[in-house]
Symmetry: C2
Subunit: 415 residues, 2 copies
């Protein structure tokens, strides 16, 4: 993509009411645009990052047998009344009446409708286990939405749901998904700690995946010896010593990027999702649910990987791998432009993502500042000075050193 053609421009300032670093950098870089408190639009650069995150999530969900589907935003009051959650959900769920007077909610989670849909398809032990997931926009009433993409009123969510015949199978799959979650966070480039939490409906515990960060809204307790982590609620119930090895805890602030829950039979019992076991007995299906917020994950990557000049994207989710800067004092048809154009075309043909700063009306200082703000991993510079030696300057966004590659060997020397 040529910067001269890109829909967005970098901005000098983010809105005054944006305190969080992720919103500041993402808005200034033109990755996102603010609609209202807690509601953002993904501009083309931001959508590229999100798409890469979503595809990493898809690959790992498919690898554990998850089948992708796409539920509706509108949800029926009836099924939420059946699980006795409609009234309790009022605080977080946008609920309203349609023109016929029927009450609807905007989905913030999909246990009820998916359990209802599964009744068409699950009736025997032979139909189990099953796992389905979606990546979808969800809605949540948030009184104080002030953390950029970390806490929104409208946000993307990956939610996986699994269906099992017995607890042993649920436990096995739950651990399989926990491993897939570890892989996702590693691939996205953030270090997430599996953290014991309360809130499971079936077993006493659930698990959260927490990324240590100054701006985190959560408090977790990490054992300095064995790495075991637990959240505030679990910590309040337990002692001051790690239950695994007896050592002490360190209190840390963190951002929750994922969570996994054993739901047991709460939803299947309430909505009548039964199956017939091998002996012919009717039993409620055992369920679990597993969430990741792709937008929150993007924001977390920004919060934990930046410097005063801008974002430092992990390579796997960078909008472009290479940011190619043309410094072109003579304007159009210069040798520099000719070489930079050729590099842009050659790398693009090789399937390498390149953001090409071909703008004619920007100074070298402005171009370097934008490259640092946008945060692509590799910066290439083509200028009169580099061409005197038939070279291209190479700098990694996360390093200080500058190196040079000969024009001929650029592709093989590209980090």
């Amino acid at each position: 993509m040529r910067l001269s053609k890109l829909f967005t421009k970098t901005l000098r300032e983010a809105p005054a009411d944006e305190a969080s670093k992720n919103a500041q950098f993402l808005i200034r870089g033109g990755f996102i645009s603010k609609v209202m408190a807690g509601v953002y639009e993904y501009m083309p650069l931001g959508w590229r990052v999100l798409d890469k995150i979503n595809n990493i999530i898809r690959e790992e969900m498919n690898a554990v047998g998850g089948q992708e589907l796409f539920m509706s935003v509108f949800q029926n009051k009836d099924i939420w009344s059946a699980t006795e959650r409609w009234d309790g959900a009022k605080e977080v769920m946008y609920q309203f009446k349609d023109s016929s007077g029927k009450e609807l909610g905007l989905g913030f989670t999909h246990e009820e409708p998916l359990t209802a849909a599964a009744q068409h398809f699950i009736s025997s032990y032979k139909d189990l286990p099953k796992a389905v997931y979606q990546i979808q926009t969800k809605f949540r009433r948030e009184e104080r939405a002030k953390s950029g993409l970390l806490r929104g009123r409208e946000f993307l969510m990956k939610d996986l749901y699994s269906f099992h015949a017995d607890q042993e199978d649920l436990d096995r799959y739950y651990e399989e998904v926990a491993v897939a979650y570890d892989k996702i966070f590693k691939r996205v480039g953030v270090k997430a700690l599996r953290t014991s939490a309360s809130g499971g409906l079936f077993s006493k515990y659930s698990d959260e995946f927490q990324v240590l960060a100054d701006v985190g809204e959560d408090l977790i307790y990490v054992c300095s010896e064995c790495g075991y982590a637990e959240n505030k609620e679990i910590h309040a119930e337990g002692g001051s010593k790690c239950p695994k090895c007896g050592h002490g805890f360190t209190e840390e602030k963190s951002i929750e990027v994922g969570n996994i829950f054993k739901l047991g039979t709460k939803f299947s019992s309430a909505l009548g999702l039964d199956f017939t076991d091998e002996a012919g007995a009717k039993k409620p299906v055992i369920m679990a649910s597993y969430g990741i917020g792709p937008g929150r994950l993007m924001a977390t990557a920004v919060e934990v990987s930046n410097d005063e000049r801008g974002i430092i994207w992990p390579e796997t989710i960078a909008p472009y791998r290479v940011h190619l800067v043309l410094l072109d004092e003579q304007g159009a048809r210069s040798k520099e432009q000719e070489v930079a154009n050729k590099i842009y075309e050659d790398l693009s043909k090789k399937g390498i993502d390149v953001l090409y700063d071909d703008r004619q009306d920007k100074t070298a200082g402005e171009k370097f500042a934008d490259a640092d703000l946008l945060g692509c991993p590799v910066r290439l510079v083509v200028s009169k000075r580099t061409l005197e030696k038939d070279q291209v300057e190479i700098k990694m966004r996360n390093k200080k050193e500058v190196a040079f590659a000969s024009l001929k060997d650029l592709l093989s020397q590209l980090p």
Copy 2:
């Protein structure tokens, strides 16, 4: 995908209140599931079809320079008031107050928020032209939602918006997108007629893309000589003769699968999206918008391509290219199963989509009925009878004849 593992099953009956063929076949096939009138969930098979349609659309939108982004569902009353559309939109827009008393709408189109966002990025003729698009869930009040995916209260929409410095550039790009639309509909496998329509805000005319179908809600007039088509409103204004060649019209029912509008400066003037031209004068940006409903397109493909037994998917959007049927009288570990397993693995390795009916508890009749209902283009059958001659039976969903290929040459003989 093995049918024994697929989340969904085919159903004997669709809900009694579903009159449309698309809803009947898509629900019975397990492609979609009904939540309430006009609201459907895409189950894994349906999501695969939709994903293929979306990707065809993406390729053609990218080819005309469209940059993908993702706007928000929540929209501000303020900007809709600025264009004087808030009150008029009440009939089609879900509008409600959030907990702070602020009025919000659920987006059914995105001219206002996109024009507002573009103000950050467009200020000079050098920033033009630009084109951006999204594929996103939209919402629309529909009193009588009874046509399956053809008319929903919640539905996917691809909306492209373009920004221009002058009308000449707008006209050029508008025609470029019209050609891209033709390509999309051809690739998806439906025959769409570009149809003159009223409703343009800038020029007098807009264009609709209409697919002839008995169940269409629209009436269009097609010249039997030159193929020129116009909609009801244009026809009422014009004469009974084709304006291009003077011949008569045939009245046809049709489904609108896309539309393109020249918006002119309505939105840019109201919301202050100006640019400075080469002479230094300030002017409002000229805009156009271009819509396609991917879900409606999926439904249209079903409406125009089916028989009494089920769907006949165009190859480009079929959930799977091959439906492999194992007829296995001896049960597990038979020669038939061994051969079918190997075909499934071999074709999958070659990157061919295969839906493999490996179910043990279904009769041949049930398996053939499901293959016809699901509508994949190529049906392969492995049975005791075919293996006696080391063959596989091949039948195309859209033909009656049955052919045979030797096991060795299956891949090269696959249609």
